[in-house]
């Protein structure tokens, strides 16, 4: 008589599954020492290509912003509401906003009394003199002292530093002007006029005079939408005729519009898909390569769930090894890029690593689920 048999589909204990996976890894059965570097290379190459292209976009956008190409102005002399203009800076679509008006004061440096320095009154948003507000123009300040802001050519000519002073005659009277800060306004193709100038922030108030221009920086918005917002700061004239309220770009030399969709149109846009397919294929193929030995294990009584779990452990470990090789390599390639802002690139790297890992695992698990004991028979039939 036969002794009672254990159930044919008895499950292996988790401990035995782990130990089998570990033995497969350490004996070289999984080929981890070869496949992990191969997978790392594939992920690194594909990711670096795409991240290089994204880096270019980041650089272009950075140059665009640096050159003030994202700055738009509306010009309506004596008809711009400064409070309204400043308030635009608090909108989510607008990074910073401020109004400006030519100041009639005659300012001459005491050292060069023959030439006058143009003066502009600005709202606090223009140079970020209000707490928590972003400056429209990049500024350099010490503390938050009140005072004037000097443009780059004035700074050069009189060697000024934030916190210092400039001896001037203001409409004939001598005074020491306090330099609250300096602002950046390079000659990179933008409207001239502010490079050799000083601006004086004017605290907002209900009785403050209207301004000539409102400036906004909206690097991530549709220019038409921004223009509409700008025009809303123009106070309608009392008279019958419509005021000309022209919207212009502070620097039009880089084109009128940054391609906000450039990311979705980049030549490497399909690489994330390719990388996913490649990782899946690698996981699939490397597991399929072992189908005879896996079929052999199934025929030795290993149940499907145990085989798939074992494959998950093995693949998880060598795919993680691949990621640990690929991550520093991609990071290294990022640092060779001229991009100033690498945050979006490191995010991308993380996505590539995560995708590489999960798709490799998915490919391997699908392969392990489709291997059949019968492969053994087909094998010897096809020998």
């Amino acid at each position: 008589m036969r002794t009672p048999q254990p159930a044919a589909n008895h499950h292996m204990s988790p401990r035995d599954i782990v130990s089998e996976a570990w033995r497969n890894l350490t004996t070289g059965t999984t080929g981890a020492a070869i496949w992990a570097p191969c997978l790392a290379l594939i992920i690194t190459m594909l990711a670096s290509l795409d991240i290089g292209a994204i880096g270019q976009l980041v650089t272009t956008a950075h140059q665009w912003n640096q050159a003030g190409a994202s700055l738009l102005t509306v010009t309506a002399p004596g008809h711009v509401d400064g409070v309204l203009c400043d308030a635009l800076g608090t909108l989510p679509s607008i990074r910073a906003a401020g109004a400006i008006r030519a100041h009639p004061a005659e300012v001459r440096a005491v050292t060069t009394p023959s030439s006058s320095i143009p003066v502009h009154a600005v709202t606090t948003g223009f140079v970020g003199a209000r707490a928590g507000a972003q400056a429209l123009l990049p500024t350099q300040t010490v503390g938050a002292d009140p005072g004037i802001f000097a443009g780059p050519e004035v700074v050069d000519r009189y060697t000024l530093t934030p916190g210092g002073t400039l001896g001037v005659t203001l409409s004939g009277t001598f005074t020491q002007a306090h330099i609250a800060g300096t602002y950046v306004y390079p000659a990179d193709g933008r409207q001239s006029g502010l490079a050799y100038a000083i601006v004086a922030p004017e605290p907002p108030g209900p009785h403050s005079a209207p301004f000539d221009q409102c400036w906004v920086d909206a690097p991530k918005s549709d220019p038409n939408h921004t223009a509409t917002l700008l025009r809303s700061t123009v106070i309608p004239s009392a008279g019958p005729q419509e005021l000309p309220a022209e919207v212009t770009q502070v620097n039009a030399s880089l084109g009128t519009e940054l391609d906000l969709n450039a990311f979705n149109h980049r030549p490497t846009r399909l690489i994330p898909i390719a990388a996913g397919v490649a990782a899946f294929a690698v996981g699939w193929w490397i597991t399929r390569r072992r189908r005879l030995e896996m079929a052999s294990s199934l025929h030795a009584g290993m149940d499907r769930a145990s085989l798939v779990t074992q494959t998950a452990i093995e693949t998880g470990i060598w795919a993680a090894m691949a990621c640990m090789i690929a991550y520093p390599l991609i990071t290294l390639s990022i640092h060779t890029l001229p991009a100033q802002d690498i945050a979006p690139l490191t995010t991308r790297t993380g996505l590539y690593i995560l995708q590489g890992f999960t798709f490799t695992l998915a490919g391997a698990l699908l392969a392990a689920s489709t291997i059949k004991e019968k492969h053994l028979f087909n094998y010897f039939k096809d020998r």
Binding site: R2, E20, L292, M302
Partner: protein, 199 residues
Amino acid sequence: MPLELTGLTHDFGPGPLFTNLTATCLPGRVYAIMGPSGSGKSTLLAIAAGWLPPTAGSVERTGMPVVRWAFQNPHGLPRRTALDHVTLPLLTLGIRRPHAQVEAMALMEKFNLSHVALREFRALSGGEAQRLLLARALASRPDLLLVDEPTAQLDPTSSALVATSFSALAGTGAVVLVATHDPDIITACTDRINLADFR
């Protein structure tokens, strides 16, 4: 419960290998499947295992949940040890590894494989690998054992060990089918199925 082969016919295309083959294979007996090379011995084993549907006829295998092969071309995990191969089926039966290894060693000893226990599978000779996978098949305590040309690569001493193991397994109530044209093995079997009788 016996293995019932009823009216089996198989044809891969060029003409039937066997026609209307009917046999009742009883537990406790060892059947020699006889015939020259290419006569369809392996094909009949695959049909009996349920791995290949026959062109006609049916196979009844009730009460035989564990079916194991000892293939002519043994396939294992090239870099895992011989011992690991025989231990695996015992682990799947819920036996803890230390006990499983002891039992596996005992099985390997019966096939004269103790000295290669810690060798990698890929380093075994053809005959050693074949015997190893036979030992592994026995470790699963099969109800139906299908053996394909077990002695093609074996010396007489090993052949005798292998033949003994068939009777031992049959002694526990299993059905054993052995495809062979080795006269020594045929003599050791209790019953014969000659494919020449079913042309």
